[in-house]
């Protein structure tokens, strides 16, 4: 992991000097992660792809503003975060659609039942969709991207305590859907 960070930093330094091949390597290395982060955040492939393209375009143009090249991943995801926030604002402005808040509504029906493996993907997708965009984002950054709390705080421009609170609240919701407490066995019940 340390070796990887050093490589990223060197590539950033070289790209800053005008070496486009170094930046192309950074794109190849990070495009899948950024795309999946955006896909889970905005839940639309075309939007995710457009935002991913825009993220790398902006990162290339403002590469010199990155003060610490070793923190390229956080910086890159911060740009992607800003892109997703802009899209949410645009969607809200265009459709005035209510973004679902904490998911307790229609997902309650899933709780209390055993989730089959084939349904797991759908269940996860629905569980994530039930979160607010802010909660979903910290879950993605923590679970899928493996960032630390202070790094997530840097990406989303919020205090680490806020990030932790959002994540723990979201995790309780997800736990209720994906790992429900088994209903108590009745005494004398026979298994069929």
């Amino acid at each position: 992991m340390i070796f990887r960070e050093v490589e990223d930093r060197d590539l950033v330094l070289r790209a800053r000097e005008g070496d486009v091949d170094s930046f192309n390597i950074l794109v190849s290395r990070w495009e899948k992660k950024v795309y999946n982060y955006l896909l889970r955040a905005v839940r639309d492939r075309e939007d995710a792809l457009d935002l991913c393209q825009e993220t790398f375009l902006k990162s290339y143009r403002s590469l010199r503003s990155l003060q610490d090249p070793a923190r390229f991943p956080q910086w890159l995801f911060r740009i992607a975060h800003n892109e997703s926030v802009s899209l949410f604002r645009k969607r809200r402005f265009e459709s005035d659609e209510e973004v679902p808040e904490q998911g307790t509504g229609w997902l309650v029906g899933i709780a209390g039942t055993r989730i089959q493996h084939l349904d797991l993907g759908l269940a996860v997708e629905k569980a994530l969709a039930s979160l607010s965009p802010e909660q979903r984002e910290v879950v993605i950054l923590k679970i899928y991207q493996g960032f630390k709390f202070d790094e997530i705080a840097e990406i989303v421009s919020s205090p680490a305590s806020t990030v932790k609170s959002r994540l723990y609240t979201a995790l309780d919701v997800l736990k209720g859907v994906l790992a429900p407490v088994a209903p108590p066995q009745r005494v004398g019940a026979r298994e069929v």
């Binding site: 994530l128 899928y144 994906l178």
Partner: protein, 220 residues
Amino acid sequence: MMSETPHDLRGYLFDELNAAERAEVEAHLSASPEARDELDRLRVTQQALLSVPDEEIPRRIGFVSDKVFEPSRARRWWLGFWNAAPQFAFGMAAGLVVLFAGVWTVQPTVTANADGWHLAFGEVAAPQPTPAPALAAFDEEQIEVLMRRIAAEQGELQSAELKTVFEEYVQKEATAREAQYEDLRQRSAEAYAIFRSEQEKLRREVGGFNLASLVRSSER
């Protein structure tokens, strides 16, 4: 009822606790079946989330060499210029040198008169004489006066030319005479040298004979 966990199990799950905090949580887990169940549920949730793999990107992100990433030529120059402090400083210094050299070379002069402001470069030219008015504006008397003036000017010009020719002639004659004089002087010197030579030859032929006495004897 589940006993109170010393630290949040979610922090333990995400490896956000330090070594001492982790040790306290692990001690609590070993003593509390409820805490272990809670941790199991958190792990199941995490595993469920991670069971959905990342998707492959539908199409590759455009590379820097692609047109979409290519900034305009002016923008590339502008970014390169502003982002390189030494180049910027050098550019500014070079610009100042060029500016001062330009001012030194063209020597701009600003003057103001009744016609307004005038910007001139280089040395200010002497005022040009006002051109003569058109001939039609003169009457016959004025034309005659003008022609006389022109004739006088022409005469002065011819006199000046004759004077120049005469001076050149005098100079040429003086040079020729000097050459003749020099020639005469050289020929006189040569004749005298011949005379001296002949005199010496004669003296040797007559021995110690005295030319003066010889002359006197011949007179006798």
